[in-house]
Subunit: 198 residues, 2 copies
C-alpha cells in the first residue's frame, strides 16, 4: 500500500519510511507514554537512523502530532457519510465508524489514539484540536440550523461511547454483537441527534 | 465524613487512613501507571508507614483493586435511579450520572478510573469486572425481558460517551452546556434504550 509522500525526498520512500516511524511512535506513546518515548527508541523500533526521525518530524512533539493524525481513511469515511441523504445519515455514520474500527489497520490507529489521549495531556490537547477541527466542524457543516454544532457533538458522544465500550473497554453486550446489530440498535439515536427533535 | 471501617483496627481510624492510601494510590496509578507505582511511594504520598499499606491491601494488585472501586455514592446513585418509574428512568439516570461526575470527589475518582483503565490492562480488567457486575447486572436486573442486558449495555454506551466527551476529553458542545441541558438532549436516547423499540 502506498502512502502520499511529502515535499522532501523521493515520494515513495519517504512515505514508506515515515509510515514505519509513525507506527513505531504510536505504539511507543500508547505503551510508554510521552515521558517513556524517545526519538532514539522510536528510530530503533522502526529500524531507521535517528537522524531521519529528526529530519522528518523535528522533535518529539512533531512525532506525537503525527502519531495522533486520524487516518486518511477516517477523514474520507466522515466525508462520505456526510454526503449521505440526511434522513439515513445516522445509519451510514454508524456503519462507517464501525467499519473503520473493525479494520485492523485503522482500528489499531484509533485504539492507540484513544489510549494515548487518556493519559497524555499533550496527546489529549492534540486529539481535541483534530477532533474539533476535522470531525465536529465537518459534520456540523453538512447540517443546517443554529443547532448544528450541538447536533454533531451529540452524535459524536454516542459514537465515541460505542467505540469505548465495544473496542477499548470491551464490556457488555456491545462487545459481542455483530457490527450490523450494533448499527441497527444505535443508529436511531445518532439519527435523532442529526435530524430529530432535540 | 466517616467511612465504614473493615474488620481490623479501630473502625474510624482504619477508614480515614485507608481512604488516604487509596486516594494516593489512585493518583499514582493515573499519573504513573502500574509500573510507575510502588507501595512505598504510595505510603509516602499518603503520609503513612509502608507496612500499613501492606497490612491493609496486601500487595500492589490489592491496591489497584481498591483504587478502582466505584465510589459508594456511585453504587447508591445507580440503585436510586433504578428505582425510578421506567418511563422516566432515562432522565433520572442521566441526572444521576452527571451529578456524580460534577461532584468534585466522585468526579475525581471516576476520572482517574477512566484514565488508568485506558492504559493499564490490569486496571481495564478490573474495571470490566466491576462494571459488568455492578452496573450492567444491576441495571438489567431492574428491567424486564430477554433484551435487558442489551438495553443496559446500550444505555451505558451513551452515558459513557457523554462522560468521555464532557469530562475526560472535554470536546464539543457537550463540554460547555449545563448538566440540565446535556440531560435534556441525551436522556431521550437513554430512555429509548431502556424501554423503547429496539
Amino acid at each position: 500500500m502506498k502512502r502520499a509522500g511529502g515535499e522532501r525526498g523521493p515520494r515513495e520512500e519517504r512515505g514508506v519510511l515515515s509510515a514505519r516511524i509513525v507506527a513505531a511512535a504510536r505504539a511507543s506513546f500508547a505503551e510508554h507514554g510521552w515521558a517513556g518515548t524517545t526519538m532514539r527508541g522510536v528510530a530503533r523500533e522502526a529500524g531507521v537512523d535517528p537522524a531521519l526521525v529528526t529530519y522528518y518530524f523535528s522533535d518529539k512533539r512533531g512525532l506525537l502530532a503525527a502519531s495522533l493524525e486520524f487516518p486518511e481513511s477516517f477523514t474520507r469515511g466522515v466525508a462520505a457519510a456526510q454526503a449521505a441523504p440526511l434522513k439515513r445519515r445516522g445509519r451510514v455514520f454508524m456503519d462507517t465508524m464501525l467499519g473503520l474500527w473493525e479494520d485492523p489497520e485503522t482500528g489499531e490507529i484509533l485504539h492507540s489514539t484513544f489510549v494515548t489521549a487518556a493519559h497524555e495531556p499533550l496527546a489529549m490537547e492534540r486529539l481535541r484540536e483534530t477532533f474539533s477541527a476535522s470531525i465536529l466542524a465537518a459534520v456540523s457543516e453538512s447540517l443546517e440550523g443554529e443547532e448544528r454544532y450541538l447536533r454533531a457533538s451529540l452524535a459524536a458522544s454516542q459514537i465515541i461511547g460505542v467505540a469505548m465500550t465495544r473496542y477499548v473497554w470491551r464490556i457488555g453486550a456491545l462487545a459481542e454483537l455483530s457490527t450490523e446489530e450494533v448499527s441497527h440498535y444505535v443508529a436511531p439515536s445518532v439519527q435523532r441527534y442529526l435530524s430529530g427533535k432535540l
